[in-house]
């Protein structure tokens, strides 16, 4: 038998616990974004035993353009040139593809396209950046040895050696290179090499709100990119028939993406 005092106590306990349950914030389905590449910071960087991979998840890209903004800010890229950009693909019911990229997606995409007459079947965003090819056409054509593949797999430009002949700009199948109007030398996305050497993620990966851009070490078996690349999912590279063997992979990219 329960006396009045204990009954009131129990009811109050229950009410308080119940109301706490209501107020307690629910941990929604959040994406954990790591801020650093493990195993680099504070250690000596072994340039000969590194392998990195970049994965772009097309299905998660919302075209906000924060990657483009971060990229411009990180390098003070001159207006009109883009190290990375976001393309919008619109597919009509006649299977015609409309691609546009106003300001490289720097201002985001605020409005739908109005110049398409037919009904739209599908639309998606494709972020583009350097593919870091293992057989890089830009490296093959450079006449002065200013573009090279570093031992850790990065295609870099030696600003002091480059003569600005723009041969590499023509050779790149992905059009990621441009001639910097200020320094007059070829410039391209480096996957933020300076950040990686300090154990930080590339700026575009750092700011991506949806996790559409993923970066990590292939030597680290716990990294997300390792798990995705070794896993069963379908990944594609751009212009595979060119035989460039990119280290940039696309997840969920449709056949139309070039």
């Amino acid at each position: 038998m329960m006396d009045r005092r204990s009954f009131v106590k129990k009811v109050l306990n229950g009410t308080i616990a119940g109301s706490l349950f209501l107020v307690w914030p629910m941990g929604g389905n959040s994406i954990e974004t790591p801020e650093e590449i493990p195993g680099i910071k504070g250690k000596e960087y072994d340039i000969h035993h590194q392998e990195f991979a970049f994965i772009v998840d097309v299905t998660r890209c919302i075209g906000c353009g924060s990657c483009c903004v971060a990229d411009k800010r990180e390098y003070n890229v001159p207006d009109g040139n883009y190290r990375t950009w976001v393309e919008r693909y619109v597919k009509g019911f006649s299977d015609k593809i409309y691609v546009d990229s106003p300001h490289g997606g720097l201002d985001g995409y605020q409005h739908a396209r109005t110049d398409i007459d037919e009904e739209i079947r599908d639309t998606f965003f494709v972020p583009k950046l350097c593919n870091m090819c293992k057989e890089a056409p830009c490296v093959q054509v450079c006449p002065v040895g200013a573009t090279f593949i570093s031992p850790d797999g990065f295609v870099l430009v030696d600003e002091k050696r480059c003569v600005g002949c723009a041969y590499c700009i023509q050779a790149c199948p992905y059009s990621v290179r441009f001639l910097n109007p200020v320094t007059k030398v070829a410039e391209k996305c480096t996957w933020c090499y300076h950040r990686i050497r300090k154990g930080l993620l590339p700026a575009c990966v750092e700011v991506c709100p949806t996790g559409a851009r993923k970066f990590g070490s292939m030597k680290d078996e716990t990294s997300e990119v390792y798990k995705i690349l070794k896993g069963p999912g379908v990944l594609t590279v751009l212009k595979k028939e060119m035989g460039t063997f990119p280290a940039l992979y696309y997840k969920g990219a449709r056949r139309e993406v070039i």
């Binding site: 209501l22 340039i47 299905t59 739908a112 090279f148 430009v157 750092e206 709100p209």
Partner: protein
């Protein structure tokens, strides 16, 4: 006869030596220091590429000082968003843990424009499982607010559902109690 043959041989050997030595010297003078350490390029260029100044920090670096914002930001749905995308780069604001400049604060319509960069339904590529989108101005009409309202008048920008959830809890409790 014999002497002139030896002389000629000597001249040939010497000239080859001089040419080779001169060539090597010339190469040494022309090639940059670290050329060829890893391959046919300047190895120092890799070091130079690694020394480009970092301009973006991480959210953790912002939260070191802004603990109040950190508390709200980490709990909310906007936890995956980088501080620096909306506010500007770390390098413009702080150096060695000290403030060196003020970052611009977004105001009124700028906030709505910023929100709609991601949350606009008009762009069909935004899937429900990735992001919640709204159509403007229908969203304002549906919520019975003035069409001149900015997003931040109802939504806490760091944790967009903070006030909404709280308001629903209060009204929900009141409805149940009445």
């Amino acid at each position: 006869m014999d002497l002139s043959y030896r002389m000629r041989l000597l001249i040939v050997v010497l000239s080859i030596g001089v040419l080779a030595g001169g060539g090597l010297l010339f190469k040494q003078l022309l090639l940059p220091d670290s050329f060829g350490d890893y391959g046919p390029y300047r190895a120092d260029a890799i070091t130079e590429a690694a020394l480009v100044p970092i301009r973006h920090g991480t959210n953790t670096s912002c939260f070191k000082c802004h603990s109040h914002e950190a508390k709200i930001h980490k709990k909310g749905r906007h936890q995956t968003i980088s501080c620096e995308f909306c506010h500007g780069t770390y390098a413009d604001h702080a150096k060695d843990g000290k403030k060196i400049g003020t970052l611009p604060v977004k105001k009124e319509k700028e906030i709505t424009t910023l929100c709609l960069r991601c949350h606009n339904t008009e762009i069909k590529a935004r899937h429900e499982e990735v992001i919640k989108t709204v159509a403007m101005p229908n969203h304002l009409k549906d919520q019975n607010v003035k069409l001149t309202h900015n997003c931040n008048q109802c939504h806490q920008v760091h944790a967009p559902l903070k006030y909404i959830i709280r308001a629903k809890q209060i009204t929900g409790l009141m409805e149940a109690g009445s």
